[in-house]
């Protein structure tokens, strides 16, 4: 059931597609350009006809699980349904056909959309301004930290450390390091929430910011958030909100009101722009007034109903990507917000919390729950008890779920829970789906007790069985060290046979 590579399907007899005739008698490149500038042999692209291409990709598509077909309870990733109207909106010629260097007068609708989206996001998270430029969540984190750094430098405070909880997403410490900060880890307490005592001991005049997601990656609301904010602000540091978990409380509460100074949002999580198998997403960043002068350039400004791009921002951290961000994703998110409205977004978050608590209840007899509920929009269970008894690990449970047509929860994250299984059902799923998933978990756990060996061999019903990543890594090493010709990371033509 595997599919050959396009390179393996390629046939030299396939003619190139019919393309426009030049219609003019201009020179060919080889007439004008010196030979050393020209490519000596054509690139090794495959040669396939259109029907072969369509079948190739259709067969590949059938090898994927996706939200459109499967329950996708991937914790921290908010895999909710992506309304198809979003796609129709982004494909409108009035958006898709715009050149980024058209005059402002000719793109007033696009700028208006960006302006309205900014206003809506400000209302949802409780901030003063939003930049739509960052292309993804991690890009937004980095953008926010650069702004915080620029702000503190402008006040003559070159603070050097960023505090990150031990339960944080890996992007948090990575973004902090790339922004030029030392990373200091803050420990979680026994209840899964940040330890105020540990936080206090790590705060110092060197602290630039605390990066926090709330609810945290265990799906728990940081009850002491107001004390945390006060503590952080009392040292002159800032509070940064990782918006990965924003789906938990739209319309219920707002990071800005909790004391967060900068907030990134993942439009590809909370606001239903599709994940695309790993992007494109969009990671707008909202900030409170004192950070506004440092927003990336340009911003969208509105004066007397006329919209303009403002490039004259002397204190700006500059530009974080080309043009104005992932505009097509902004169109999708705006369409979603418009359709949902304030009432719909609040309902979505409430339903997400209800789904998570319901599913948590259904599986709590089978999986360990290291922390007390209620949870918010997701929960983290543990398979450590099974590992101890008969060698079944979180990974085995994940693979067994795949065999039952469910995508797997996030496993081994957050790092603070051994054999972590992180489940985020989202508001999309029906009661029946949640129950079917819980039933699958029950059966798998029963099997873990009766026949653990069988679980190590899952999945059995997918195009491939468990793939040996260790062997793959060894082969890559051999290639990188010059001991093998197989690059592993790309296809190469097999050596010509003697015939």
């Amino acid at each position: 059931m595997t599919e050959p590579l396009s390179f393996e399907l390629s046939r030299p007899s396939v003619d190139p597609p019919r393309l426009p005739d030049p219609e003019v008698s201009g020179p060919a490149p080889s007439d004008v350009l010196p030979r050393e500038v020209l490519r000596s042999r054509p690139p090794g692209l495959p040669r396939l006809s259109e029907p072969e291409i369509m079948r190739h990709y259709s067969r590949m598509a059938s090898l994927n699980y996706s939200i459109s077909e499967n329950f996708y309870p991937l914790g921290s990733c908010t895999m909710k349904y992506n309304p198809v109207a979003n796609e129709a909106a982004a494909a409108l010629p009035g958006f898709a056909g715009l050149h980024p260097y058209q005059d402002e007068e000719s793109v007033q609708g696009a700028l208006e959309l960006m302006w309205r989206l900014e206003q809506a996001l400000c209302a949802i998270v409780g901030v003063d301004r939003v930049t739509l430029q960052p292309a993804a969540g991690a890009h937004g984190e980095w953008t926010a930290l650069r702004m915080i750094r620029a702000y503190q430098h402008s006040k003559g405070e070159p603070r050097t450390e960023v505090l990150v909880p031990d339960s944080a997403h890996g992007t948090n410490p990575a973004s902090a390091a790339l922004s030029g900060f030392q990373v200091v880890e803050v420990l979680s307490g026994a209840d899964g929430r940040i330890s105020l005592a540990d936080l206090e001991s790590k705060l110092s005049p060197r602290t630039s910011a605390l990066m926090l997601t709330n609810p945290n990656t265990l799906g728990l609301f940081e009850r002491e958030i107001l004390d945390i904010a006060e503590l952080v602000h009392s040292t002159g540091a800032m509070l940064y909100y990782d918006g990965a978990n924003l789906n938990a409380f739209m319309g219920i509460c707002r990071p800005g009101d909790m004391g967060f100074d900068a907030v990134h949002m993942n439009l590809h999580k909370t606001f239903t722009t599709p994940h695309g198998g790993g992007g494109p997403g969009a990671g707008p960043v909202g900030v409170k007034a004192e950070l506004v002068p440092f927003l990336p350039s340009p911003t969208v400004e509105r004066k007397n109903g006329h919209l303009a791009l403002d490039f004259k921002r002397p204190q700006s951290i500059g530009r974080v990507r080309s043009f104005y961000g992932n505009f097509g994703m902004l169109v999708r998110a705006y369409t979603y917000i418009l359709a949902m409205g304030g009432d719909g977004l609040s309902q979505a978050s409430q339903d997400a919390v209800l789904s998570a608590n319901y599913l948590r209840k259904l599986v709590e007899g089978d999986l360990e729950m290291p922390h007390e509920g209620p949870c918010m929009h997701e929960f983290v269970a543990s398979a450590a008890h099974l590992n101890h008894e008969d060698g079944v690990r979180a990974l085995d449970i994940a693979k067994a779920l795949l065999d039952r047509r469910f995508y797997a929860p996030t496993v081994y994250f957050p790092l603070v829970v051994p054999e972590a299984i992180m489940v985020e059902p989202t508001e999309t799923e029906s009661k029946a789906t949640l129950e079917a998933f819980a039933q699958a978990v029950k059966e798998i756990v029963a099997q873990a007790r009766s026949n653990p060996q069988a679980l190590h061999e899952e999945p059995r019903h997918l195009p491939v069985g468990r793939l040996d990543e260790v062997a793959a890594a060894r082969r890559i090493n051999a290639y990188l060290q010059g001991q093998s010709e197989d690059p592993v990371l790309r296809w190469t033509a097999p050596a010509e046979s003697a015939s």
Partner: protein, 417 residues
């Protein structure tokens, strides 16, 4: 559901949120039907002016190209566009194989050893490549040589500041230079001496980073052929709509020696117990979710679906289709340059320099010219003096396979009138 959970209302599930933080409601209008939503969204779309493909002569990093219908037919398959990053390999073979094919296509185009799964755009690809060089040789200055896209340089500066990397746009590389970055063809469309620039970088122990136009590589010597260490670029031309600047896709490929410093996802082959070939995320130890603050980059979500579009486009074109696209564009641009240069007062800004399908030309009253063209429904040249003061009065015009011969006539007639 509430009963099973053992609570009376949703409120009981929200007890951890301090009362003082609770909102009554969001200050947003109530929701709308799909019909009403689309009426509003379409009204915004209609407030924009879309220039027809054939009458668009503006480039500057985003180009109109013929996009085969096969591209959208594949990228709009929900199995591709509603899947997540392929963490569970066995249930994500479609995405993984598509990325593996994309990596191979980019490696073939650039003639380098390994490509990653994608980056956000050309600008961040340049910045990430500079970071790689900095980590590789420990030097903290990069030199930008010639007319590199000004927005790419701005993003490079913003990235560099975080890492303490200085960006120099003048002078020669020295022993302190981590990398020399050049664009081929450059931002104005002109060909640069890629070989000489690469050699100059290597002479001082710096890496050579080539920012390239992917379609140009059907006819131009690829970075791997002239010895560049890293190739980056913007992949918008490979099947992606202009979409007011994004989402597009950044590509990055490098020599084998630098693979461990490559940012982002990488897909490799692996085998199951029965010996069947499959695809997995590889070398994850470079990445943020494993290495945290020691990761080579913070990138997580990248531009996978755009990379898929590029893969379909390149597979559709094949080596000879891509060459035809590049050649048609070349011929038309040269005819157009010739005709524009014969207009009274117009002259090529760099008549001694070669170009492919975009060229700088000095026009009398350039801003008035562009406005006049717009009135006639033509998106004329890009005024590059907004970034480069020395290029006052210079417009860059671009021509591709979508600008037919009649469109060239219409442009010239509009300018003559």
């Amino acid at each position: 559901m509430l009963e099973t959970i053992g609570v009376r209302s949703i409120e009981d599930l929200l007890v951890d949120i301090p009362q003082s933080l609770r909102l009554e409601s969001l200050s947003l209008p109530d929701g709308l039907s799909e019909f009403e939503t689309m009426v509003q969204v379409k009204a915004l779309a209609e407030r924009n002016r879309v220039f027809p493909d054939r009458l668009t002569f503006r480039g500057g990093g985003v180009y109109r190209r013929f996009i085969p219908a096969a591209v959208a037919a594949v990228t709009s398959k929900p199995e591709f566009y509603t899947a997540y990053t392929p963490y569970q390999a066995e249930a994500s073979q479609g995405t993984l194989q598509a990325i593996f094919e994309y990596q191979t296509l980019i490696a073939e185009l650039t003639a380098l050893d390994v490509s990653n799964a994608s980056l956000y755009d050309g600008a961040t690809a340049v910045a990430e490549a500079a970071m790689m060089a900095h980590v590789h040789n420990g030097r903290d200055e990069v030199v930008v040589s010639g007319y590199v896209h000004p927005e790419y340089v701005q993003v490079l500066r913003a990235f560099g500041e975080g890492r303490g990397i200085k960006v120099r746009t003048k002078g020669e590389p020295t022993k302190k230079t981590a990398a020399v970055i050049f664009q081929q063809p450059d931002f104005l469309g002109l060909l640069v001496d890629a070989r000489a620039t690469t050699t100059a970088a290597h002479d001082v122990g710096a890496l050579a980073i080539a920012c390239v136009d992917p379609i140009s590589l059907a006819i131009l010597a690829p970075p791997g052929e002239y010895g560049a260490d890293i190739a980056v670029g913007e992949g918008q031309q490979l099947g992606l709509a202009p979409s007011y600047g994004g989402p597009h896709v950044g590509f990055i490929a490098c020599k084998k020696e630098l693979v461990r410093k490559l940012p982002g996802r990488l897909v490799g082959t692996a085998h199951d117990a029965q010996g069947r070939r499959g695809f997995v995320l590889a070398l994850a130890a470079r990445e943020q979710h494993i290495r945290r603050e020691k990761a080579t980059s913070n990138i997580c979500t990248n531009h996978s679906l755009c990379a898929l579009a590029a893969a379909v486009y390149l597979t559709y074109m094949g080596p000879y289709g891509l060459k035809q696209v590049a050649e048609v564009s070349f011929k038309r641009a040269h005819v157009l340059a010739d005709r524009l240069a014969r207009l009274p007062g117009w002259e090529l800004a760099f008549p001694e320099r070669q170009f492919l399908n975009e060229f700088p030309i000095r026009a009398p009253k350039s801003s008035a010219v562009v406005r006049k063209l717009a009135r006639k429904g033509i998106l004329g040249g890009l005024d590059v003096s907004r970034w480069f003061r020395e290029l006052k009065g210079v417009l860059t015009f671009t021509c591709t396979e979508v600008n037919d011969a009649r469109a060239l006539d219409e442009l010239v007639i509009a300018l003559e009138s």
